[in-house]
Structure formats: structure tokens, C-alpha cells
């Protein structure tokens, strides 16, 4: 018997799987669907969404940004260091801009020197790691004044009504990114370059300018994610971003962004981020051991990558 409506599973498959996952975890442990757990998890999801969105920009342009994790660590240190001197607000902006600058340098290396994205961003990963370790000696930066700590903490741990502050920022930024990718020349050019860079070049698109902007945006979004995480912890941790690069790439691909460029977007970044954070949280709340959790998340990401490869071949 045929369904009256034809369902496009490539579009609705993952959202459907996401809701089924929520239902399963709620059945296993009703505490999963409590207000507090939803609030906490969406807070984590907001941070991951920003980082995944940044990676999405790089992937759309048929590149990759391997420096996101290191940039996050740098921003954590730079933010706290800047706050010591400039105060909470100006220091926070300075810290974020430090991270964005790394992305700008990535973009210049890729666009103007012709270094492949994987190599340029890998190099930046090591350079940034080294710089922040030399600067800090591995020391955690703490001891903000009470006023600065309070102001900073609000960004990471505060609430506006029932909604965590990072979630509000993520929603606003998400809409902005959606608009940029869908309705601006810059956004369309990213897709074109990702689909066929040679044709785009022959068509006279300013590829170099676009690439520089893409990697600046990628690092800027990772910096914002790092900022909210640092704000929540109210301390600067070297290697804060260590585990996030894999999640960023995994989240982007899981959501449906193609590693071959030209396909994906903000909606896919959101979906991928939500699946990862709620999957991880659901497994913790369900009592699944750490080892099994890592394996399950890894398998999910691999399957998503496989799906991306198969879709490309088909």
C-alpha cells in the first residue's frame, strides 16, 4: 500500500531519527526529558552549533578547518588574559578577535599562497597550540575579579527567562548565518566555489576574497563557541578545544553537509549539533558507560560520513 504523501527521507530522515532518539531516551529514563536537562543540553548544543557552523562554511567551500580546536584553546586563554587588562566586555571582544585573526591568516595562506586547506589549517593548529602553551606554560588562568567573573559568567551560564544566554546568541547568529548563505552574494558564491571551483574561477568570481572570508568566519564562529564555554567555566584553559574539532567535523557531516563541498548549510549544522549533544547526554542519563558512549558516537559519525560518500556516488 502506497503512502498518500511521498516522504523525502534524505531530507526528513535525520530529524525523524532525532525525535525517535529523544523518545527512546525518555522511555529509558524520564529524567532525560526534564526541563533542567533540556536547558543544560541545549546550552551545550548552542556552543557546538557555533563551532559546527564554522566548520560548515569551510566544508561548503570544499575545504576543511583543522585549526578550530586550537583556536578555541587560544581564545580561552586570550579572553581571560585580555579581561585582566581590559575588563570583562572589551576583553571578551579582544579574545574573540584573536581567534578570528587566525582564521583570516588561514584564508590568506589558502587563497593567496595556494596551500591546500588541510595543510594550512593543520599548520595553524600546531602554531596556535605552541603559541598558547609558550604563553601560558600550561597554566590555567583564573582569579578574575568578582565583577569581571560575574559579567563573564552571564554569557556562558546566565539565563534570559527560561532560555540559556548562549542559546539566544546561537539562535540570532544562526538566523544571520542562514540569511548570509541563502540570500547574499557571498553565500551563493561559497556554494558555487564548493560545487566547482574551476568553473567559478572562469566565471570571474572573486574566489580568493571568498576563501579568506570563509576561513575567517569559520574561526570566528569557533571563537564564539570557545568564548561561551570559557565564560561558563570562568577560567582560561590551555587545550580547552582539544576534543571539539572531531565533534565539529562529525556534527557538520552528520547533519548532511557534504565533505565534497557545495551541499549543506546552517540547518544541517543545527541538526548535526543537536544529534551529537542529545545522543551523548541521553547515553549518560541512561547509564551507558563512557567507553560504549565513545564507540556509539563514533559509529554514528562514521555512518553519517558513509552516507555522504554514498550520496555523492549515487
Amino acid at each position: 500500500m502506497k503512502l498518500p504523501v511521498r516522504i523525502d527521507w534524505s531530507k526528513f530522515g535525520l530529524p525523524a531519527a532525532f525525535f525517535v532518539m529523544l523518545i527512546i531516551f525518555t522511555v529509558i529514563n524520564p529524567a532525560f526529558f526534564s526541563a533542567r536537562n533540556m536547558i543544560q543540553t541545549t546550552r551545550q548544543g548552542a556552543i557546538l552549533f557555533l563551532i559546527v557552523s564554522g566548520q560548515t562554511f569551510a566544508l561548503l567551500a570544499r575545504g576543511i578547518d583543522l585549526s578550530q580546536g586550537s583556536v578555541m584553546s587560544l581564545v580561552s586563554i586570550a579572553t581571560i588574559s585580555s579581561i585582566y587588562v581590559l575588563g570583562a566586555y572589551a576583553g571578551s571582544i579582544a579574545g574573540i578577535l584573536f581567534g578570528a585573526m587566525c582564521g583570516f591568516i588561514n584564508g590568506v595562506l589558502i587563497a593567496f599562497l595556494g596551500i591546500p586547506p588541510i595543510l594550512a589549517t593543520l599548520g595553524m593548529l600546531f602554531v596556535v597550540s605552541g603559541v598558547e602553551l609558550v604563553y601560558t606554560g600550561g597554566v590555567t588562568l583564573t582569579n578574575l575579579s568578582d565583577i569581571d567573573q560575574g559579567r563573564l559568567f552571564w554569557f556562558g551560564g546566565g539565563m534570559i527567562g527560561p532560555v540559556p544566554v548562549p542559546v539566544i546568541f546561537a539562535i540570532i547568529i544562526g538566523f544571520l548565518l542562514y540569511y548570509i548563505l541563502k540570500y547574499t552574494l557571498f553565500g551563493r558564491r561559497i556554494y558555487l566555489i564548493g560545487t566547482n571551483a574551476d568553473a567559478s574561477s572562469l566565471a570571474g568570481l572573486p574566489i580568493k576574497r571568498v576563501i579568506v572570508l570563509v576561513y575567517t568566519v569559520s574561526a570566528l564562529l569557533a571563537s564564539l563557541g570557545a568564548f561561551f564555554l570559557t565564560a561558563r567555566l570562568s577560567m582560561g584553559f590551555p587545550q580547552l578545544g582539544e576534543a571539539w574539532l572531531v565533534l565539529a567535523i562529525g556534527g557538520a557531516v552528520l547533519g548532511g553537509t557534504s565533505v565534497f563541498g557545495g551541499k549543506g548549510g546552517v540547518w544541517e549544522a543545527l541538526l548535526g549539533s543537536l544529534v551529537i549533544v542529545f545522543l551523548d547526554n541521553g547515553l549518560i542519563v541512561s547509564g551507558v558507560s563512557t567507553f560504549a558512549r565513545e564507540a556509539i558516537i563514533g559509529v554514528v559519525i562514521i555512518v553519517a560520513c558513509l552516507g555522504s560518500v554514498i550520496k555523492k556516488r549515487v
Binding site: 602553551l133 597554566v139 590555567t140 583564573t142 551560564g157 567555566l233 577560567m235 549518560i284 563512557t290 567507553f291
Partner: protein, 325 residues
């Protein structure tokens, strides 16, 4: 006459040989010793503090120090590569905090076979060859945390243990110490979550466990980053100070702030900076032939709380604020 000449010549040769060997020895001992210190995760506050201990003691003894960081407990291959490079280039002695107790055995055995002086500092390598060791008693550390928590919970309650990375033998020892003591109290339920030693892992894990176990009464943490993450999660849950007991290990600036504000109830200390200094002293003695393996030197441990925060001797566990290398 010929026999006399030959005899005199022989005596002269022996005298020259003795003189040259003495000069040689003097030159060796006058040459600055060069040692390598290898740690698994240099950004962990524990190793950052120990680095201060290594550096200051090396400076005091006139020894040149090379510092190698594996960059994470998972980077066993990287540390093995560092050790092999050191064997290749030549080094007077090595202090090793192993990334993996089992994974480093072959390379450590090679080092010992090549008679390169070696001190294993706290993070053990399970070599069966004779070696100098300076160690914490991980089991005791775990038990100290367990005793504090069980006493304050009066033998009843759910406790989350964050022992850190599962591949690290010290973490396994601390975990074993905790559960071995806690199992004597049927009212204590222990939940274990092996996580990386990072604040976001601690925060995310405690948040999740609090959902599954809203009756959680205590958290025992392996390291300062996990402790900070755990406290942030406890704060976010709406719990008041002391509702959920948090016990950590070591005391960095961040943990001290949390302890003074009442969010961190206790921490286990082991004078790790003094431990690093002692490791350097042991290695230099071994290089000079004054100390021979095997030797197992165990350091002291003690618990501090907010009440004793201003009274314990910080020299062995705290570096000056202005030091940041």
C-alpha cells in the same frame, strides 16, 4: 738493560693512562649534566606545577633540563618516539611520567638495558627491570577521598567518581582505592565515569549524572580541570554550597578560590613540587653512581579543607604567582 727499559716504559704508560683517566673523569664531572623530563600532559596543572619543581632543582644543581610533553595521555606513541629520540641523541638521564604503564614497557626496558639512568616519576611504567621510582600511593589517595566523603555522608548516599583517563595506571589505583573503601558501606552507591581530564568533560558528565541521579551527594575528582568542571555543573544544578560534596586532588589557584567560596570541600595533596625536586635529586645521584636501582620511594599524602587552607606548608605544592613558564 733492555728489560729495565721495557719495565720503565711500562710503568710510564700505566702512569700516563692513570693520569688521563683521572683528567677524563674530571672533565666528565665538570661537564654540565643534561637530563630529560617527559610528562604525559604538560597543560595539566599537576604537571605545570611539577615543572616548576624540576626547573628550580635543576637550576640549583647546575643541571640542564630538556622538557618533553606528550600532549595528552592518549599520545603513547608520541612519548615513545620522544624516548627513542633521546636514546639516539644521547642524554645523561631521564625522568619519566609515563602516558601508559603497559605501552611504555618496551622502550623503558631498552633505556634500562642501555644503562641510561632513569627515574619513573609517579606515572608508572610496568617494567620488570630494576629502576628508581618515586611514587604517589594512588590507592591511598583514592581512599583518603573515600574516607572524607563517606564520613560526611554518614555512610549513605550516591557518589560519582571521576577517576580521569582509564589508561593511566595512577587513575586506576585511585579508583581502586576509592571503591575498595566505599564497598564496606552498603549505603554508599558508587558511580564511575572515566573521562578525559578536561573541565568541559567534567562539567558535561556531572550534569548528565545529576539528571540520572538527582540524589547525587558527592563527586570525587582526579584532577583540577575535572574538579572545576564538576563544581560548575553543581552550581548550575541549583544546589547550595555543601549540598553536593566535591573532593579533588591538588590545589591550583582556581581550586583554592572554589574552596574559599565553599564549593570545594576538600582536596588531597601530595607535595608534587617537592616530589619533582626529589626526582631530580634521585636521578643526579644515579648518574653519579651514588644511588642504584631498584628503589621505590613513596611520598606522603594529606587532605586539606577550608579550615586548614591557611595553615598547611605550601612550599612543596605551590609555585610563586609570578612564575609562568
Amino acid at each position: 738493560m733492555k728489560k729495565k727499559t721495557a719495565f720503565l716504559a711500562g710503568v710510564l704508560v700505566i702512569c700516563f693512562a692513570l693520569v688521563f683517566s683521572l683528567i677524563g673523569n674530571t672533565q666528565v664531572s665538570a661537564k654540565q649534566l643534561e637530563i630529560a623530563v617527559l610528562v604525559p600532559n604538560g597543560v595539566d596543572p599537576y604537571f605545570t606545577a611539577k615543572r616548576y619543581g624540576y626547573e628550580t632543582e635543576c637550576e640549583k644543581l647546575g643541571v640542564k633540563m630538556l622538557f618533553y610533553d606528550a600532549g595528552g595521555y592518549a599520545n603513547v606513541n608520541k612519548q615513545i618516539g620522544q624516548l627513542e629520540d633521546l636514546m639516539q641523541r644521547g642524554i645523561d638521564g631521564i625522568i619519566l611520567g609515563a602516558t601508559s604503564a603497559k605501552g611504555t614497557v618496551p622502550v623503558v626496558d631498552k633505556i634500562i638495558s642501555k644503562r641510561i639512568p632513569l627515574v619513573i616519576d609517579n606515572l608508572d611504567s610496568f617494567t620488570k627491570k630494576p629502576v628508581l621510582r618515586i611514587m604517589k600511593n594512588g590507592v591511598l589517595v583514592g581512599q583518603l577521598r573515600a574516607v572524607y566523603i563517606v564520613e560526611h555522608l554518614k555512610g549513605k548516599g550516591t557518589v560519582l567518581v571521576l577517576p580521569g583517563p582509564s589508561a593511566v595506571s595512577l587513575c586506576q589505583d585511585e579508583h581502586r582505592g576509592f571503591v575498595t573503601y566505599a564497598k564496606h558501606f552498603p549505603g554508599i552507591k558508587v558511580i564511575t565515569e572515566w573521562t578525559p581530564s578536561s573541565p568541559d568533560a567534567g562539567m558535561k558528565t556531572v550534569e548528565g549524572i545529576l539528571q540520572a541521579h538527582p540524589d547525587l551527594k558527592a563527586v570525587a575528582c582526579f584532577s583540577p580541570p575535572l574538579t572545576v568542571g564538576a563544581v560548575r555543573a553543581v552550581q548550575a544544578s541549583g544546589a547550595r554550597k555543601g549540598d553536593i560534596i566535591v573532593v579533588g586532588q591538588m590545589l591550583d589557584a582556581g581550586m583554592e578560590t572554589l574552596m574559599r567560596k565553599g564549593w570545594l570541600q576538600a582536596t588531597v595533596m601530595c607535595d608534587h613540587i617537592e616530589m619533582a625536586r626529589e626526582a631530580v635529586r634521585m636521578l643526579v645521584k644515579e648518574i653519579k653512581g651514588e644511588l642504584k636501582p631498584p628503589l621505590y620511594h613513596q611520598i606522603d599524602h594529606y587532605l586539606i579543607t577550608k579550615d586548614t587552607l591557611d595553615r598547611f606548608d605550601r612550599k612543596g605544592s605551590t609555585y610563586p604567582k609570578e612564575w609562568r613558564k
